[in-house]
Amino acid sequence: MFKKKAGDSIAKGININTIVRDYGILLALILLMVILSWSNQYFLTPRNILNVLRQTSINGILALGMTFVILTRGIDLSVGSVVALAGIVSASLATTSSTAGIMGAPYPAVVAIIVGLLVGATTGGIAGTIVARLNVPAFVATLGMLSAARGLTLIYAGGRPVPALTPEFRWIGTGDILGIPVPVVIFAAVFLISWWVLTRTRFGRYVYAVGGNPRAAKTSGINVTRIKLYVYVISGALAALAGMILAARTGSALTQAGIAYELDAIAAVVIGGTSLSGGIGRISGTLIGALLIGVMNNGLDLMGVESYYQQVLKGVLIVAAVMLDQTRNRHE
């Protein structure tokens, strides 16, 4: 027996409330873009759009990794620190500076990037092991990693930035492919791969099941521990990628890079409709969430609004998005 009659959902299909509920964030993004393009003729220029995308790409990459973690009922607070750690470590391999680099530097950019990714995957693996095997709450485990990775960054670099990166390495932050900035290309590629993994692979199905009901997932033969571990490795590696792009863009790696970046990443995921209680969410939502934050920052900049106000608005947006989600869940 249906709890809802068949007729209800047909009527629901054209129900304006449902559309707002399901596509509200996308509508908000489009609406914002329409308003901005009216009020400022510079907004919709290709140059500015690429600029928004480039500014969004670092937070976007972090948010994509964060989506995997949050889908399994977890959270990764360490991404901001991993941004700095992986940035510093890879930069020390790709610098021409004789004092900041490690022996034999500069290495080819590929080597520096692979080592950077391994650093991120390792910190993610450690946090993931603590969460999945030792059953420490994700909040606590990654809060610890937030502090530890920042400390390791400072120890490794002796508290100093790593300047003078090779042009080859800087290309991932400043180069372009067919006129499109490399960070944007990387962001797009990470998005497509994440989307494919979550919607088309068995691993993706497992991620949703583990977040939706770990016990049912376990009973159905899924290795819940392993899936949980993997999502932190993914998040760590993507944080490292973002960290390297950031270092490459600015030309030197800073020990203070990425502070509080985890908050914007979580905000993008949450605004994108992924539930903090796991099992519900779409990677496309995260993309829209990250873009919305990026467009809003850009638009407010263009309109000359002070960055202090931008923070207030972002706060309002996060809470409003989650409230929207709550009403949706109540309906179900």
């Binding site: 027996m1 249906f2 709890k3 809802k4 068949a6 959902s9 088309r200 692979t201 068995r202 691993f203 993706g204 199905r205 497992y206 949703y208 099941a209 977040g211 939706g212 009901n213 016990r215 049912a216 997932a217 376990k218 009973t219 159905s220 033969g221 899924i222 290795n223 539930s275 796991g278 099992g279 519900i280 179900e332």
Partner: protein
């Protein structure tokens, strides 16, 4: 004579379905009164009306001869009626005294809690009952039985005269039960009236003076325990023949399907041995906490066995994880579909496919076509009533959700089906369908093991019945020889 509590003609319906048609009850002071009845007999509805949780549709309640009407549990408590629930919910990090006086702590002049007065008062109550518990012990350091004793002390701290105990022994065993029954005798000696709800008949005959039986939401009989025997009480509780509710078409073969020898786990089950033939339905009957579920958890790799061997079709298998169990052709329909059966945030299709994902794609990549086809097949086979298979499984009715769980496991093409309370919380129609599926599976050569706490279901569906008590097998009966009385006797 004035009764502590007298109830007559109590009725209550939920959404047009009568849960209680005629609740009738009389409690004398200084007595223990057993309230008996099967599942759905209306006992819990009865209790929640008396406690002011539900509002009655009709009938009267007298307390010490005065007509009363409770709008909330607080009012019931204030008039001296207290209940000790089946699921206790103490605050573990607080002391015994803090738990007893939770929410009404004695205060000092400036609003601080007067701990010494609280501890002294708690100590007095605990001593009067001769409980060997210190008021300053933390709740978390107590056993379940001791926690129950604290609940009794709490009831007395409210000056309760009428104390309901809902299945107080369901989670404790042996000696602890004796301790609890002794405490009940003391309460009785103090002139309290105790209403004792339990499925364990041996306890009822040990502790109660009177009995009242409910069946199908209505009062059936009352009397003195001394005037009825165990057999008579069971007949009164079970009351009717349910044979025709069950669709049973299978006939056991003589080929072994599943064999278990000497299975034990750390503390819940020990030395479990049985074998089930292909085409056979083995029923496992036992009370809550008797180890039924733990057998399945060991077989399925959800909990560690400490000894014993498992074999399927005469081949010994090693099971350390559910995925190994599934690989060996086992399937487990768990007791609670919301807790461990379904991913409620997922769609019908994703739930149906969840245990078979390895077969529904190419390597690590899923094939939507294969998933869609497989899910359609199961929806048709189990006649799951879903608008689309992409709709959230949470929007299905209980019966269809349960069929979705079954579908998930049938998709793995199992040889051995383990069913833990397969019809819990589903309506009669869906129940029949589930019985049909079970029979069909067995008659095609499948092996079925089913646990149930419903006697009628076990009697109706099983070819052989294994009865559990305190983690051990207390008897195995064939379909022909088994009857309700024997099952209850062996289980309690």
């Amino acid at each position: 004579m004035v009764h502590l509590l007298e109830v007559s003609g109590l009725t209550k319906s939920f959404g047009g379905v009568a849960a209680l048609r005629n609740g009738q009850f009389q409690l004398e002071s200084g007595s223990v009164h057993a309230l008996c009845g099967g599942n759905g007999a209306g006992k819990s509805t009865f209790l929640s009306i008396i406690m002011g949780i539900h509002v009655r549709d009709g009938g009267q309640i007298w307390r010490n001869g005065e007509l009363v009407e409770f709008a909330s549990p607080a009012e019931a408590l204030a008039s001296g009626i207290s209940i000790i629930e089946q699921e206790l919910s103490p605050v573990p990090h607080m002391t015994v005294a803090e738990n007893i006086y939770l929410g009404r702590e004695p205060l000092r002049r400036f609003g601080g809690i007067n701990f010494s007065a609280m501890n002294k008062a708690s100590g007095r109550i605990l001593d009067s009952l001769e409980f060997d518990i210190s008021p300053t012990t933390l709740m978390m350091d107590l056993s379940i039985a001791q926690t129950q004793l604290v609940e009794i002390a709490k009831a007395l701290s409210y000056d309760a005269e009428v104390i309901f105990m809902d299945e107080p022994t369901s989670a404790i065993g042996g000696q602890e039960v004796e301790q609890l029954l002794a405490a009940i005798q003391k309460l009785k000696a103090q002139g309290k009236g105790i209403v004792y709800v339990s499925h364990r008949l041996s306890e009822i005959f040990e502790v109660a003076d009177h009995y009242t039986v409910f069946r199908d939401g209505a009062f059936v009989e009352e009397g003195e325990i001394s005037s009825i025997d165990r057999r008579g009480l069971i007949r009164c509780i079970v009351g009717r023949d349910l044979e025709e509710e069950f669709t049973k078409t299978n006939t056991p073969t003589n080929k072994t399907g599943l064999a278990v020898v000497g299975l034990s786990d750390e503390n819940k089950i020990s030395d479990i041995s049985f074998s089930v033939n292909k085409g056979e339905i083995l029923g496992i009957y036992g009370l809550m906490g008797s180890g039924r579920t733990e057998i399945f958890e060991c077989l399925f790799g959800l909990s560690k066995k400490t000894s014993g061997t498992i074999s399927i079709a005469k081949k010994t298998i090693e099971v350390n994880s559910p995925s190994q169990a599934i690989g060996h052709g086992l399937a487990l329909v768990t007791e609670d579909r919301k807790l461990s059966g379904l991913v409620m945030t997922g769609s019908v299709r994703s739930n149906l496919c969840l245990a078979s994902l390895k077969n529904l794609g190419h390597g690590p990549v899923m094939s939507s076509m294969l998933e869609k086809t497989a899910s359609k097949e199961m929806i048709a086979q189990f006649s799951i009533k879903a608008e689309r298979d992409t709709m959230p499984v949470s929007e299905l009715s209980g019966g269809n959700q349960q069929k979705t769980v079954l579908g998930k496991w049938f998709m793995t093409k199992p040889d051995v089906l383990l069913l833990d309370e397969p019809t819990r919380g589903v309506d009669v129609g869906a129940k029949r369908e589930i019985y049909g599926v079970m029979s069909e599976f067995a008659s095609q050569g499948g092996t079925v093991v089913m646990t149930s706490s419903e006697i009628e279901e076990v009697l109706g569906m099983a070819d052989r019945i294994l009865v559990m008590r305190d983690g051990r097998i207390s008897g195995v009966l064939s379909r022909k020889e088994a009857n309700a009385e024997m099952l209850v006797n062996l289980a309690a």
